[in-house]
């Protein structure tokens, strides 16, 4: 055989091989910040999704076909999210996506998935804009920022009786969206914020802002953003002697919030809204134990990601692996997950949201507050 013939044979073999592979697997993307400053959340997503996929595959897969997960890294950047979404759709031929993490990534990516008829279930993107645009293929297994903001605002007004509230955000889709949602409910209660400002993500020095907060005598500081900024922010607030109560959302729900603040004493008393403890559901008990046995703490979004994968798998199973029909099916049916029974409204939001208040203590742990 001449070289050319050998090469041709090899190429056709390779093509044949990849085609058979593509048919044998159900490719599902796990999209999120697997690198970059928020890679910790990407790891949470991956841990949850891969454990769920393994459990489903061990039980026979989806109609006998195995789930193959593809890691898609958006680094929490909208531009990169669009390009990995295109890659998932075009070259990986994914039928569904669990992700993305950041709302600012989920929203632009969802347009790509809609065009390609791919089902998208996010475990973590809470910005209302994600489902409010009326796309048929988007779902989330977490709550919405306006629900989260409502809970925080009513707690600030009713329980804390605060008068001077400073609202700070990180200028990002998630952080600002959350802060705005909180602010509008706060204003509806008749409390006007004394300060409304954004800080820059990636910086560590917020002393100037803290001094300004001191100058307006804020008794509550509400922060919409992630733990990497919340940590140094709350530390500098305490170091400048402010005793204002610090409240934030689910963006700080990670042990790293304590390490980045430098010491548990700085996070003592910090309040946060988050879904009712995802490890407390009876349906998820075994999974939680399995995670702990494997040395993974099912913190933050691990269980959410597990549940999102279950939702995807169940919908695909009911509709012969057709993602468009699967999205349609999800709008009218309930799915059993490790976080209880989930059902979705016509926009793709959960029918029942479960936000509650948590408080961090001086040991660097958080626990649910009785409300």
């Amino acid at each position: 055989m001449s070289n050319a013939v050998i090469r041709k044979t090899l190429i056709s073999l390779a093509v044949a091989g990849s085609v058979t592979l593509a048919h044998a697997d159900v490719v599902i993307g796990v999209a999120g910040p697997h690198t970059g400053a928020y890679a910790a959340f990407g790891a949470q997503l991956w841990n949850g999704a891969s454990a769920a996929a393994k459990a489903i595959n061990d039980a026979g897969g989806i109609d006998g076909e195995m789930i193959k997960l593809v890691k898609a890294d958006d680094a929490c950047e909208p531009k990169q999210a669009v390009s990995v979404a295109n890659r998932l759709v075009d070259s990986d031929e994914a039928v569904a996506v669990v992700g993305h993490f950041c709302s600012s990534s989920s929203i632009p990516a969802s347009n790509i998935y809609e065009e390609a008829g791919v089902l998208q279930v996010t475990p973590a993107s809470t910005n209302p804009g994600y489902t409010d645009r009326g796309l048929p293929n988007v779902f989330r297994v977490c709550g919405r920022d306006d629900q989260q903001g409502d809970v925080a605002a009513s707690y600030i007004v009713d329980t804390l009786g605060a008068k001077n509230v400073a609202v700070i955000h990180d200028k990002d889709t998630y952080g600002k969206g959350l802060a705005d949602a909180m602010k509008s409910t706060l204003n509806a209660y008749g409390v006007k914020e004394v300060l409304y400002e954004g800080l820059t993500r990636g910086e560590k020095d917020f002393n100037a802002l803290v001094t300004k907060i001191r100058s307006v005598d804020a008794d509550v500081v509400y922060f919409g953003g992630l733990h990497s900024e919340a940590g140094p922010f709350v530390r500098q607030l305490r170091e400048q002697g402010s005793k204002a109560i610090f409240i934030s959302g689910d963006g700080i729900v990670s042990d790293e919030f304590v390490s980045v603040a430098g010491s548990p004493k700085y996070v003592d008393g910090v309040l946060m809204t988050f879904g009712a403890d995802p490890t407390s559901y009876a349906a998820g008990k075994e999974v939680v134990n399995q995670f702990r046995a494997d040395g993974i703490e099912p913190e933050g979004y691990v269980m959410y990601s597990y549940a999102a994968m279950q939702v995807v798998a169940e919908a695909l199973k009911q509709t012969d692996l057709d993602p468009v029909k699967a999205a349609d099916w999800l709008h009218g049916h309930k799915v059993e997950t490790v976080m209880g029974t989930k059902s979705f409204d016509e926009k793709g939001d959960l029918l029942v949201s479960d936000y509650v208040m948590y408080e961090w203590d001086d040991k660097g742990k958080y626990s649910m507050l009785d409300m």
């Binding site: 910790a40 990636g202 100037a208 802002l209 530390r235 980045v260 603040a261 430098g262 010491s263």
Partner: protein, 303 residues
């Protein structure tokens, strides 16, 4: 009044850190005419080394602040200095004499290598070091107070001492004379018997040393860090170096202080939303009227 004074304190301590890191940019530019874009990441590496040093010292049961800080400083400055030396050796020396563009790209590549290498080896998690020095001095001003934490005071002293020692080395010592000679005319300097390669290496090590000093101080003050912290602070320090006149040592320090103060005052008195817009607009305006920066000398074409 107390608020403005407090903002001056905030800005001064932030600015002194910018100044320290800016020294690395300005010296490297002065000597080989390129921007070392990996410099911010050298700073990032020093944050990790700081945490390792503190962990090691506490493992041996050493807790007293002066010993810990001194040990950490020596260890971090040494390790980071080695990084500076190796980076020059690997990424810049082989490209000596090639076009500026390839050196620039090599610098950016080095920055990405450092970020990814630290991310892979240390994890992408946010890390933190515990508070070593707490407490503050307070001055009552009118109804309010102005506060200077001991850590901030320490940062101010340490960075000014660092800058002072460096200025002395460059202005008064033989090593400094050789640096200045190499900066003025590398070819002539090497004809006169100066090992210019060695001087260039030394300058990289000095730059890394100053970044290490900043890394220790900032890490101890703010606690948290990750593999990405070099990026923003690197850009800010680079801006400070350009603002003060790139290539000029006093310029880097002045640029750092001006940038820190303008950020703090703008954020404190107007809005932190547009803080960076303001400081970078300031840079643009200064460059329009003084293209070589505040203390920079216009480059003379050598004939």
């Amino acid at each position: 009044m107390d608020i403005i004074l407090q903002q001056l304190v905030n800005g001064l301590s932030l600015g002194s850190v910018y100044g320290l890191i800016a020294i690395g940019y300005t010296m490297v530019y002065g000597i080989i005419g390129m921007i070392n874009f990996a410099h911010g990441d050298v700073y990032m590496v020093s944050a990790y080394v700081t945490a390792i040093a503190i962990a090691m010292l506490s493992f041996f049961g050493i807790e007293s602040f002066p010993v810990v800080i001194l040990g950490t400083l020596i260890f971090t400055i040494f390790v980071t200095g080695v990084y500076g030396w190796v980076i020059e050796r690997v990424a810049y020396r082989p490209l000596r004499g090639s076009s500026r563009l390839s050196i620039l790209i090599s610098a950016i590549g080095m920055s990405l290598i450092l970020q990814n290498y630290v991310q892979i080896s240390q994890g992408a998690k946010q890390q933190g070091v515990p508070t070593l020095l707490s407490g503050a001095i307070r001055f009552d001003v009118g109804d309010g107070f102005v506060q200077l934490t001991y850590m901030k005071l320490f940062i101010l002293c340490a960075s000014f001492i660092g800058m002072g020692v460096l200025t002395y080395i460059i202005q008064k010592t033989k090593l400094g004379r050789m640096c200045r000679a190499t900066q003025q005319d590398p070819k002539m300097a090497s004809i006169l018997g100066i090992d210019t390669d060695k001087i260039i290496s030394t300058v990289f090590v000095i730059g890394a040393t100053m970044a290490a000093l900043a890394g220790v101080l900032v890490t101890l003050d703010y606690g948290g860090f990750d593999f990405y912290v070099g990026f923003i602070i690197g850009i800010k320090a680079f801006t400070a170096a350009v603002l003060g006149g790139i290539g000029s040592l006093p310029g880097a320090m002045l640029g750092g202080i001006i940038l820190g103060l303008s950020e703090a005052l703008f954020a404190g008195l107007i809005s932190s939303d547009y803080k960076d817009v303001f400081s970078f607009s300031l840079l643009v305006i200064i460059l329009i009227f003084r293209p070589s920066g505040l203390l920079g000398k216009p480059e003379v074409e050598k004939v």
